[in-house]
């Protein structure tokens, strides 16, 4: 580790100061960090969207669950940028892809839920620690417990952005604008039909935006906590000072160096000693330590010389006032300078309960995803591999909204219409033919709303249907209107002819249900 190249000033910091440093780093490199988050998250999101486009909340849950994966790239980039190596996104991803994937799996599996993720990720990913070594290291690093607070704060900030941004939009848009009810748009994502509500994807987009905005701050603050703790534990600031002095000493001319040796030697020795001690602790992080220019015997002599110096060994007595508390106070006084700690007992209990409940939820989600995957495979032909042939696929998916007597739930349209006609229900037979054809055109991409009238459906069908099919539909509409709206009798032969023609058209099975049709 080349501490000389570090961009931040190294000094002992309290936890909150470290978080401040992290936020400052995030502000300085926000754009590259934000872009890197999207570059990592976008392909994953798009790939997942193919399978989960019908399950908006599952898709969001998946993205949320994979947040450590996206944040790891930010951490990797930040760990390089802090030491003067600003990587391009492609290079960062390339190096990240070589070094990190194996280390990431635990982060997105059994270590996904954790309040100290921001601090444990640098220790785990950058130092590549496992097992008991990792646990001991984290126990040393966690220190004041601010990582939990940081996680809580960032989660709340995400929630504030997620809820606040749409709410601000709603409050700014006049409530009476025609055709746009912003409040309803906002609330419908929590309703029973949330999966089909257009506002759901708007809410999800805002949530994604909130995640992407908060992630750089969260990662940078966690990383700064990690740096601050190591600076405190390993005296990086002193090491850095002594390295600079040693460097200056080596660079100075020989004569002056000798002249100055008497005064600088103690400092150099301390630098070497601390450097040696520090390098022992940091070896795992950087893989190298500064070379010691002094031999043991010479060092011993120098140390003896230093200890004999007037700065060492002298004693001095000073008297100071120490607050010992009032008469009514007893026991140990709280340390006001220490940051508040989370009440560890119940927070651990809650975290543990949350962890296992989320693990159970994750298992359930995995099952649902697998189910969705199976359904997605079934829906693949609809996504572009061609139309379903119809007769062979008797699923409940194509919903026909025909109000007719109960009948078989899977029957070709001409047969169903013929049966209705045979039962004397001419009106029902014509309605069935009309709706089935409109539904099939709608399934083929014809944009039709429930407010579309027969003429509008017919006009829209002209764009998709073949001329013969369109003529057939026009005759069905004409007869249907005469029966339904004019209450006029229709010749049975005309309907039979339409049914006969219908057999030559592409067929889809009819599933009967109640409700308004498109």
């Amino acid at each position: 580790m080349e501490l000389e190249r570090i961009a931040a000033k190294l000094r002992p910091r309290t936890g909150w100061e470290s978080i401040d440093l992290g936020f400052a780093l995030a502000r300085r490199w926000f754009l590259p960090l934000w872009a890197l988050w999207w570059i990592t998250a976008a392909p994953t999101g798009i790939a997942a969207l193919i399978w989960l486009h019908d399950h908006a909340f599952l898709w969001l849950l998946l993205i949320w669950w994979l947040k450590p994966m996206f944040e790891a790239t930010l951490l990797f980039w930040l760990s390089r940028a802090l030491f003067g190596e600003c990587l391009s996104p492609s290079r960062a991803l390339e190096q990240f892809g070589r070094a990190f994937p194996r280390r990431l799996w635990p982060q997105i599996l059994w270590r996904r839920i954790g309040f100290t993720r921001c601090l444990s990720m640098p220790a785990t990913l950058l130092e590549n620690l496992h097992g008991s070594a990792r646990r001991r290291r984290l126990a040393v690093l966690e220190g004041q417990g601010l990582a939990s607070w940081l996680t809580l704060i960032c989660a709340h900030l995400e929630a504030v952005l997620w809820i606040g941004a749409p709410l601000t939009l709603v409050l700014l848009i006049p409530g009476a604008l025609p055709g746009f009810d912003a409040g309803e748009l906002l609330l419908e994502q929590f309703g029973p039909d949330a999966g089909e509500a257009p506002g759901v994807w708007l809410g999800i987009a805002v949530m994604l935006l909130a995640m992407s905005v908060i992630a750089p701050f969260y990662v940078a603050a966690g990383f700064a906590l990690y740096l601050g703790r190591r600076t405190e534990l390993e005296a990086w600031d002193l090491e850095l000072v002594f390295r600079r002095v040693a460097s200056a000493e080596r660079a100075a001319p020989t004569a002056p160096r000798r002249a100055a040796r008497g005064s600088r030697t103690p400092v150099l020795v301390l630098a070497c000693a601390i450097g040696l001690g520090a390098s022992g602790d940091t070896a795992s992080a950087d893989g190298g330590a500064p070379t010691d220019p002094t031999a043991p015997d010479e060092a011993r002599a120098i140390i003896t010389e230093v200890l004999a110096h007037g700065d060492f060994g002298a004693t001095r007595t000073e008297s100071v006032w120490v607050y010992v508390g009032g008469d009514n106070e007893d026991g140990e006084q709280p340390d006001d300078t220490a940051p508040p700690r989370l009440p560890s007992d119940w927070i651990v209990a809650i975290a543990t309960a949350l962890k296992w409940s989320l693990a159970a939820g994750a298992a359930a989600v995995m099952l649902i995803l697998l189910q969705g995957l199976r359904q997605g495979r079934a829906a693949l032909p609809r996504l572009g591999r061609g139309k379903r042939s119809g007769a062979g696929l008797c699923t409940e998916t194509p919903t026909r909204t025909v109000t007719s007597p109960p009948q078989s739930h899977c029957e070709p349209m001409p047969a169903a219409a013929a049966r209705l006609l045979a039962a004397g229900d001419t009106r029902g037979a014509l309605a069935l033919m009309y709706r089935t054809r409109i539904e099939s055109l709608h399934a083929a991409g014809l944009p039709l709303r429930p407010s579309a009238t027969e003429a509008e459906c017919l006009a829209a069908a002209a764009a998709l249907a073949q001329p013969a099919e369109h003529d057939w539909l026009a005759r069905v509409v004409a007869l249907r209107q005469a029966v339904a709206y004019a209450h006029a009798p229709v010749e049975r032969t005309a309907v039979e002819a339409l049914i006969a023609t219908a057999t030559t058209l592409p067929q889809e099975p009819v599933v009967l249900s109640k409700g308004p049709a498109a």
Binding site: R427, R449, E456, A486
Partner: protein, 328 residues
């Protein structure tokens, strides 16, 4: 009250042919206003009064005069001004010195087709003088109720700009108009055709009605109105019209929705439209085609919507796109 029997196909065919001929006649004189012409004819077939709104020079007066000439009958015109008195519209009693008796002098409202030009320039009391005539087809002068000769159609015009010195029609009076048609600017090609047609050999700027030929008389129009009133309206279509009207009452951006009279007007206008299309029954398309014309003057947008620049037609377009059409 039982419904009249539906007209025979022959009667429908003949009525539709006359209405379509009327449409062609008017369209020959007034270019680029096809939708307004259809609405006007549908309203005439439904025996409804029409409020025409448009900027100066788009052909409002020409349209009404072309209609009057093609239909025939007694045509009258009132130019509404701020000093116009109710008696100037309805008529009044004058004292005959020779007979030493009061005689009723009938005003211009006693006609078959009345053009009320710039109706919003007359004060409220003059406007309200027309209320009785429009609603009850009669005029009361000196306590004597005088029936208007059917068919009686009021075709009023108003200008949507220059509101200074005008008296906006109260909602009660607006409700008397079956439809409100908005005449916009024609497109480029149509405007060129208009200029070419009007200026070809014309001296001055007189309205050229030479292309319009009388194709029916008042009795024919009366027969058409009778046929239209007897067209079959299925319950589902009627329910659709009512749902449209009721939707205006809780639609975002509408402060006051349409009243029950709007539903009646919607079915009447839809009947006129169906007859113009040659159908002996009303379909949802007829209702939808005339819905904007019937409802646009019966709703009041909220203030913020008006500030945002939305007009009633935009509100109604959203409403029509949202209310499900009947599925039988």
């Amino acid at each position: 009250m039982t419904s009249p029997p539906p007209p025979s196909p022959d009667i429908i065919e003949a009525a539709a042919a006359r209405l379509q001929a009327l449409e062609r006649q008017i369209a020959g004189a007034v270019l680029g206003q096809g939708q307004v012409i259809r609405e006007l004819i549908a309203a005439a077939a439904a025996a409804g009064h029409v409020l025409l709104e448009g900027l100066p020079g788009v052909g409002k007066t020409l349209l009404v005069r072309a209609m009057a000439k093609a239909v025939g009958g007694h045509y009258a015109r009132i130019q509404f001004t701020p000093d116009l008195m109710p008696g100037d519209v309805t008529g009044h009693a004058v004292f005959d010195l020779r007979s030493e008796q009061f005689h009723i002098r009938r005003g211009p409202i006693f006609c078959n087709i009345l053009l009320g030009d710039e109706i919003n320039r007359a004060p409220a009391k003059t406007q309200s003088a027309m209320l009785e005539a429009m609603q009850e087809q009669q005029v009361t002068i000196e306590g004597e109720a005088l029936a208007l000769e059917p068919p009686f159609l009021v075709l009023a015009t108003q200008n949507p700009i220059e509101h200074e010195g005008t008296y906006p029609l109260p909602r009660a009076q607006l409700d008397r108009f079956l439809i409100k048609s908005v005449m916009g600017y024609p497109d480029g090609a149509e405007e060129s055709a208009i200029v070419r047609q009007i200026t070809a050999g014309a001296v001055g700027d007189r309205l050229d009605l030479s292309r319009v030929q009388p194709i029916m008389g008042p009795d024919d129009l009366l027969a058409i109105q009778t046929a239209a009133a007897a067209l079959t309206v299925d319950d589902s279509v009627l329910d659709y019209a009512v749902r449209l009207v009721r939707a205006t009452r809780d639609w975002p951006g509408i402060e006051h929705g349409a009243g029950p009279r709007a539903g009646i007007a919607l079915i009447r206008a839809a009947r006129g439209h169906a007859l113009l299309a040659g159908n002996g029954y009303v379909i949802p398309d007829d209702v939808k085609r005339v819905a904007a014309a019937v409802l646009r003057h019966r709703i009041k947008p909220t203030a913020d919507v008006e500030i945002e620049g939305f007009d009633p037609d935009q509100l109604l377009a959203g409403l029509l796109a949202d209310v499900p059409a009947p599925r039988v």
